[in-house]
């Protein structure tokens, strides 16, 4: 027994668990995402792999896997995990996709996408967020994410067209250049609402020169409190 315990202790010292957040991440995927009906395997796998705690401020690491958005500074947030998963599943990303993301923010969503698709192009309008995202992406070794500090209105013409476009912050209108840069048959997903109460998403689909939109509700509202 003693030998066993000593051996175990030596093993733990030599091979510490590199990811103390692993169980939190697994629980997040199971309870917050899978149990809420997200079935897209690529999304689930990616969210299980990407270490969300690496993308939040140091003082919020222990809350990284909670079921809500978190502030990341400069008036921005990292979205609730479920919303990230929902948005990604909605565009049904494929391995050969080229995706444009408007609003890098923490770069978490870009990282989740990068685990699934061929290339992610991401634009951030706030310099400080761009710089920290760039460093983070480089440190974490994501080679298929390209970042740009620019006005997202103009998209990324040089890399267009895109199979899908993900807009991470609520938009008053959809910039015409983004619609132009979306492939025929491509999808764009945009949130509606405040960052702490982002319950709606809108999916835009392009067909030739026409577009349709569809409102998606991760949380469906039951309007009546009394049964008729």
């Amino acid at each position: 027994m003693k030998i066993f315990l000593v051996t175990l202790t030596i093993l733990v010292i030599l091979f510490p668990n590199d990811d103390p957040y692993l169980s939190m991440r697994e629980r997040m995927v199971k309870i917050q995402i899978k149990n809420r009906g997200i079935e897209n395997k690529a999304t689930l796998n990616s969210m299980s792999k990407v270490e969300r705690h690496q993308f939040v401020p140091e003082n919020l690491k222990n809350e990284a896997y909670d079921d809500n958005p978190l502030p990341i500074g400069f008036g921005q947030t990292i979205s609730q995990p479920y919303i990230v998963a929902y948005m990604i599943a909605a565009i049904n990303p494929q391995a050969n996709y080229k995706i444009l993301e408007i609003g890098t923010g923490s770069s978490y969503q870009a990282a989740v996408l990068a685990e699934i698709v061929k290339e992610v192009y991401t634009i951030e309008i706030v310099e400080e967020l761009f710089s920290s995202a760039k460093k983070r992406i480089e440190r974490l070794g994501y080679k298929n994410i390209k970042l740009k500090y620019a006005d997202g209105y103009y998209g990324w013409k040089e890399a267009a067209p895109f199979d899908a476009i993900v807009v991470t912050a609520a938009a008053e209108y959809i910039p015409p250049p983004l619609l132009e840069q979306l492939k025929d048959g491509g999808k764009m997903i945009i949130p509606i609402g405040s960052p702490f109460f982002n319950q709606n998403l809108v999916l835009v689909e392009k067909s030739g020169k026409d577009f349709t939109t569809e409102s998606l509700l991760p949380v469906r509202f039951v309007p009546f409190t009394r049964k008729k």
Binding site: E63, D67, N68, P69, L70, P71, G73, F74, G75, I125, V126, E127, E128, D151, Y153, A170, E172, Y173, I174, P175, P176, L179, E180, I192, G193, S194, P195, F196, F197, Q199, N200, V202, V204, K209, D210, F211, T212, T213, E214, S215, L216, L217, V219, R220, F221, V222, P223, F224, T225, R226, K228
Partner: protein
């Protein structure tokens, strides 16, 4: 100990009263700039508990404080002055600074908020303690002293309006501090000497805080903060005003295009963002960039122009002028723009060098500075098109405006507007689509009920609405929509990929062609609104949110949350989302609970020293609590009702506060000359109750009938209405103090504290009553309280 000179006391009291009221109103502006208005409301309400707390402290340490009052009084006044800028500075330091938007995300903001409460309480506490000591020690002259207190408070309300035009709010704290400092000097002088150290130190602090006060940094989640992060953004103009700090920011990345079609392929030019207290008023578009205005044709707001020609247009709450520009671009020959923010009009019409192509400078545009409803009530003109301001804000407002009176969105307002339409005229209102649906539904219920009031039995024939993926535009006509108009709308929608939502002959399958909703719930709810009065009323009862139209008696359009449904919503969304449905409404009740809790504790505390038995204590509680509640009820309701009358909330507040307090001060002064038997007191209270009831019944009619009078005439009318009741309402407090000084002098500080707590509770409670039951109920509540006070006074005579 020698008594201080009464005249110097009165002068000092006037100055310190000016100081604290001006500081209170400046603090509201400061917190509104840093955070949002309703958090300002909550924080100030708590801070004003400093008044009541001072009474508690005075009760507990009365002998010591009175024994040394000559020395203590000037020090308290000076401390009040010094702490005014100091607490603002400290509240913005990193360990203490809190953020409203983070409050419900579990970021330990509560400790920061509690610290902020305590900080802001300090100047109020020092002032109230000084006033309480004066009232207690010199109760034989309470009539004259209370007169000084009230007059000073009234002047403080006027002074802040002037100061806000000249100075930025953070500087004002040093100025109000100076008033308090001088009040202390006046009393030191009364003692024969001013301590040199105190004089130099205090003046140095106030000077440093005035000249070197750091810039205020609003919440990172405010539009201002986010806009300034954009590349090449800069503030090109900044002005303080009673409407808030107005700023114009330029950046090549600022663009706006609400309701834009996905078919638009052109360019949206960048412009300027105009903000008030860090919140967006609108984007300023340049009239010289005519070519780039083409995107306006691709928005849902083109709806009325698609329906027909609009030569004469009225735009209510025109803001930055984007609807003015749209109207001109669409061929309007004359545009009347009504905007209540005088500061904004001044900026946009005074040829600011970078804004020399403001749309307000054009000959075809007439600009009126008043609020929307006041203009409509005063105007005899008719228009081809009336445009209301957009309902809700992009991204939602998280319910910050749930307590804001919106007299232009009441059922009566819609009727008034429709009566100003030409035969083919149209009213247009835009609404940001929200989920769960609230704003859009309430606009529909308001319009439908307004049309039914003018005997239009089939409202659906008079309304059309179209939407894109996040924006809804509604057009209403007094006459039925014609087949030609409907066809034009259909063609427009098809070309723009908009959906028709409401139209006389719309089929259900035509509704969701380009912008599909998740399900038909939204349309089902709209259909219920249009179906019949019974169905609509059932919907009002059953729907999880309040979509009953706002009325002039309850003009709180953005009030959707129902307390009884909070549990249901909590189950749907989780408790941390509930505040963001309607933060203002939640904060109102949170504030009320906090205030009542603290007040009860601090009212009870002195009883451990004074004793719990003795009927007189109950009488004191009822008397001073009752008059504190009743007086503030009337003041709050007057401010809200006169906002519509004067067309401006700031001028309304300043006028009401000044008139009420000065007239009450005169009433207080008169009490100095008389002794009051119960019979005389009875007469005064009966007069007060009668005058309040008269106002409850007739005030609204008087104001509406004279709303088109000139400003001077309106002020005179306000004086005639406010003066009689306010004069008599100024009497109960000094009468009560005088009686207490004869029968139970040890209770005077406690009475002062109770009155302070009651006033603060009333401020919040009046809003609760107005929101839940209506303005008239607040008048009746005040009448009831004065009646109860009269009954209680019988045992105290």
């Amino acid at each position: 100990m020698k008594d201080l000179s009464l005249k110097r006391l009165q002068f000092a009291l006037t100055l310190i009263s000016i100081s604290i009221i001006a500081f209170q109103l400046a603090l509201i502006q400061i917190i509104s700039f840093l955070q949002w208005y309703h958090f300002a409301y909550m924080i100030i309400s708590i801070a004003m508990l400093g008044f009541g707390t001072a009474g508690t402290v005075l009760s507990l340490f009365k002998e010591k404080l009175l024994k040394n009052s000559n020395n203590i009084l000037p020090i308290l006044m000076i401390l009040s002055g010094l702490t005014m800028p100091a607490v603002i500075y400290l509240s913005q330091t990193k360990p203490i600074r809190f953020d409203t938007m983070l409050f419900f995300t579990g970021n330990y903001q509560i400790v920061k908020l509690l610290t902020t409460y305590i900080l802001f309480t300090i100047p109020f506490f020092f002032t109230a303690l000084a006033i309480g000591i004066i009232f207690t020690r010199y109760s034989h002259s309470i009539g004259k002293l209370y007169f000084s207190n009230l007059v000073g408070s009234g002047l403080g309300g006027l002074l802040i309006v002037v100061l806000l035009w000249i100075f930025f709010p953070e500087k004002i704290s040093s100025i109000t501090g100076l008033f308090a400092f001088i009040s202390g000097l006046v009393l030191f002088k009364s003692l024969g000497k001013i301590p040199l150290f105190v004089f130099i130190f205090s003046l140095t602090i106030l000077t440093i805080t005035y000249f070197y006060f750091p810039d205020l940094e609003p919440s990172e989640f405010k539009i201002r903060s986010k806009t300034l992060l954009l590349q090449d953004s800069k503030i090109i103009y900044r002005q303080s005003s009673p409407h808030g700090v107005i700023e114009i920011i330029s950046s090549p990345m600022i663009r706006s295009a609400e309701g834009l079609s996905l078919k638009f392929t052109g360019t949206i030019e960048s412009g300027y963002a105009i903000l008030a207290n860090g919140d967006l008023i609108g984007n300023l578009l340049s009239i010289s960039k005519n070519d780039s205005m083409n995107f306006l044709n691709f928005t849902t707001s083109q709806l009325p122009f698609v329906m027909g020609k609009r030569d004469k247009v009225l735009i209510l709450n025109s803001g930055s002028g984007s609807d003015v520009l749209r109207s001109l671009y669409s061929g309007a020959r004359s545009v009347t723009a009504v905007e209540p923010n005088s500061s904004l009009i001044s900026i946009l019409t005074n040829k600011h060098p970078e804004l020399n192509d403001s749309v307000y400078l054009l000959d075809r545009v007439m600009v009126y500075q008043t609020n929307a409803r006041s203009f409509v009530l005063s105007s005899g003109e008719k228009y081809d098109l009336v445009i209301l301001p957009t309902v809700d804000a992009f991204g939602g407002t998280s319910g910050f405006y749930s307590l804001r009176e919106q007299f232009h969105l009441t059922r009566e307002a819609i009727n008034d507007i429709i009566s100003h339409l030409n035969s083919d005229g149209t009213l247009m209102v835009n609404v940001w689509l929200d989920y769960p649906p609230r704003n859009s539904l309430k606009v529909f219920t308001t319009i439908v009920e307004a049309l039914e009031k003018i005997d239009i039995s089939q409202p659906r024939r008079h309304i059309t609405a179209i939407k894109n993926w996040n924006y809804l535009t509604i057009a209403v006509k007094a006459t039925p929509i014609t087949a030609n108009e409907e066809n034009s709308i259909k063609k427009f929608c098809d070309s723009m990929l908009f959906d028709m939502v409401v139209s006389p002959n719309l089929l259900s399958e035509e509704r969701d062609r380009y912008n599909k909703l998740f399900d038909d719930q939204f349309y089902d709810l709209i259909d219920k609104i249009f179906s019949s009065k019974n169905q609509r009323e059932n919907l009002y009862d059953d729907y999880a949110f309040n979509i009953i139209p706002a009325t002039d008696d309850k003009p709180f359009f953005s009030r959707f949350l129902r307390l009884k449904n909070i549990i249901h919503l909590k189950e749907e969304y989780g408790s941390n989302k509930i505040p963001f449905f309607e933060l203002g409404y939640i904060l109102l009740y949170v504030t009320l609970i906090q205030i009542i809790f603290i007040a009860v504790v601090l009212i009870i505390l002195p009883l451990f020293k004074l004793g719990f038995s003795d009927k007189k204590k109950f009488t004191v509680l009822l008397y001073f609590g009752g008059i504190g509640l009743a007086y503030m009820f009337i003041e709050i309701i007057f401010i809200q009702m006169y906002t519509l009358y004067f067309g401006n909330p700031i001028y309304s507040a300043a006028t009401v506060i000044c008139l009420m307090l000065v007239c009450s001060g005169i009433g207080s002064y008169v009490t100095h000359r008389f002794t009051f038997a119960y019979s005389r007191m009875k007469l005064i209270f009966i007069l007060i109750v009668i005058l309040i009831l008269i106002q409850a019944i007739f005030l609204k009619e008087i104001l509406f009938a004279t709303i088109h009078f000139s400003l001077l005439a309106k002020i005179i009318i306000a004086l005639i209405v406010i003066a009689p009741s306010s004069f008599f309402m100024g009497m109960p407090f000094p009468i009560g103090i005088k009686s207490a000084s004869e029968q139970a002098p040890s209770l005077i500080p406690w009475a002062w504290g109770i009155n302070g707590f009651a006033s603060v509770i009333a401020t919040v409670l009046a809003t609760v009553l107005a929101v839940e039951i209506g303005f008239t109920s607040v008048f009746f509540a005040a009448a009831v309280f004065y009646s109860l006070v009269l009954i209680s006074a019988k045992t105290f005579k």
